[in-house]
């Protein structure tokens, strides 16, 4: 059921995102080509500037649309009128929420990959085949490769941190929306109020924790570990961060689940 739901989100996002992706990649290539072939002075360079501007606008739209859809697919599809259909599917509330979070993660990654691909394409257009020569150059000098990030444990942990960080912020937004939806009017306003409240509580907790850390000398002992073994300290920091993000995701996930499962308030 989770996979079916994600498949459905792929279609719902895709019908807006895929045309944007195609347009972005097209304009990325055009931008590169215009840099290479069109005149660069102010007056006759207008077409080139125009193409470049559209490229920039498309890049922005993809970032904005990914964020907007992440929120509206949850808000409209689960808490709007379509909620009557979604909550009638033979599945539970947790699966519905999970499908939304995972879909947003997938589309965020896709948007990131496509954006990098666009940059690569424009470079390719601007530099022509010479860019491939550059890449070939790197591989012909093995000593240069050592400077590229390797797939070490630390890198994997770092990726995990980014993904979990994204998941935590998505679920936090969903929890805010779920709280805002408990009110009969001003639901959007109340969602924003809830999110601000989360932030304030988060800041307060962080302040208290760091004060406590200083007070109990945690930072001193951490500093000692860091001086003794940098690698170990890095793992420790990453592990701590991942644990913190997991707890945060679970906390906001449970709030969202409780409100949608027990206190659903469809129009």
């Amino acid at each position: 059921m989770l996979l079916k739901l994600i498949g459905y989100e792929m279609k719902a996002f895709g019908r807006i995102m895929l045309p944007l992706y195609a347009a972005l990649l097209g304009f990325a290539l055009l931008t590169g080509l215009s840099i290479q072939f069109l005149p660069q002075d102010f007056l006759s360079g207008l077409p080139g500037i125009l193409i470049f501007m559209l490229y920039g606008i498309l890049m922005m739209s993809i970032i904005i649309m990914t964020c907007v859809l992440s929120v509206t697919r949850f808000y409209k599809n689960l808490l709007g009128l379509e909620g009557y259909l979604m909550f009638s599917l033979p599945t539970d509330t947790a699966t519905l929420i999970a499908s939304k979070v995972l879909s947003v993660l997938i589309w965020s990654m896709l948007s990131t990959v496509v954006s990098f691909l666009a940059i690569f394409l424009s470079a390719l257009g601007a530099g022509g085949v010479s860019i491939f020569k550059g890449i070939a150059e790197i591989f012909s000098h093995p000593e240069l490769l050592e400077h590229l990030p390797s797939a070490s444990a630390a890198t994997i942990l770092f990726m995990l941190m980014i993904i979990l960080g994204a998941a935590a912020s998505i679920v936090r937004i969903y929890a805010g929306i779920a709280i805002g939806h408990q009110f009969s009017d001003h639901r959007i306003l109340m969602s924003i109020v809830a999110l601000i409240a989360f932030n304030m509580i988060g800041t307060t907790l962080t302040t208290i924790c760091s004060r406590a850390g200083v007070y109990f000398g945690v930072f001193d002992s951490l500093g000692q570990i860091f001086e003794a073994d940098t690698t170990q300290a890095l793992y420790l920091a990453q592990g701590g961060m991942i644990l913190f993000l997991l707890v945060q995701t679970a906390f906001f996930g449970v709030i969202t689940w409780l409100l949608l499962d027990r206190k659903l308030n469809l129009e």
Binding site: K4, K11, N77, E82, Y84, L85, T91, D92
Partner: protein, 232 residues
């Protein structure tokens, strides 16, 4: 055994009591009218059966199970809202129902959509309100469900559409299913009912066989309620 059962079921919205201590038992193979004036608790009862609301106290079960994924697999629900995704066209919607509901019969919906004269590539958002309502009913009735929960299917429609809707329900419900139709327009549904459950101020004022009620009172169900309860 009854397919839908309520025991001591209550639902409060804040200090407002929408349903008070309802005991109700409905059998398979019946068409039951859930009638009562606006605000008597009809929609609340249906939403509780579909786990869109949770009871304040008491319980409701469908085929012996609390509302959840298993009951949703055998319940086909028609809300009194425009609940289908407006961006989808009919082909996409058919694929969606086929994917998510094991009891969906695509041949049935294809037949009915064809006689309605709508094409598969037409998005729901481009259809008139009346057509959309018919499409919603078609998809609801194309499931071979064990329980149909139809919330106000004939509110605010013209007589021709009302006939279409009642005929679609009669033609398509599975023989051994329970059909629960909520409505505040008794006259229109009276001929198709086996039983009538009358809600008033969140309690069941009456639950009786429809023909027995007419025989006992010598009046139409609608006429009887108008007289006895001075509502509608």
């Amino acid at each position: 055994m009854s397919i839908l059962e309520c025991r001591g079921l209550s639902k409060n919205y804040g200090s407002v009591q929408a349903l008070r201590n309802i005991d109700l038992s409905l059998e398979s193979g019946r068409i039951v009218g859930l009638v009562g004036p606006n605000g008597s608790g009809k929609t609340t009862l249906i939403k509780l059966a579909q786990h869109l609301l949770t009871p304040t106290s008491g319980m409701i079960t469908i085929d012996g199970m609390l509302p959840g994924p298993q009951t949703k697999a055998i319940v086909s629900y028609l809300p009194d809202r425009d609940f289908l995704p407006q961006w989808m066209n009919l082909d996409q919607l058919t694929a969606f129902y086929h994917e998510f509901f094991a009891d969906f019969n695509p041949a049935k919906s294809a037949d009915m959509l064809e006689s309605l004269g709508v094409t598969g590539t037409m998005p729901l958002g481009k259809m008139s309100k009346g057509t959309r309502e018919k499409v919603q009913l078609i998809f609801t009735m194309s499931r071979e469900a064990r329980v149909y929960l139809l919330d106000e299917p004939i509110a605010g429609v013209d007589p021709a559409t009302r006939d279409y809707i009642l005929r679609t329900i009669l033609t398509n419900y599975s023989e051994n299913a329970l059909v629960l139709i909520s409505t505040h327009l008794i006259t229109d549904v009276e001929p198709i009912l086996d039983e009538v459950v009358f809600l008033q101020n969140g309690t069941i004022a009456l639950h009786e066989n429809a023909d027995a009620l007419r025989e006992r009172t010598g009046k139409s169900i609608d006429g009887y309620f108008r007289e006895v309860y001075r509502c509608f």
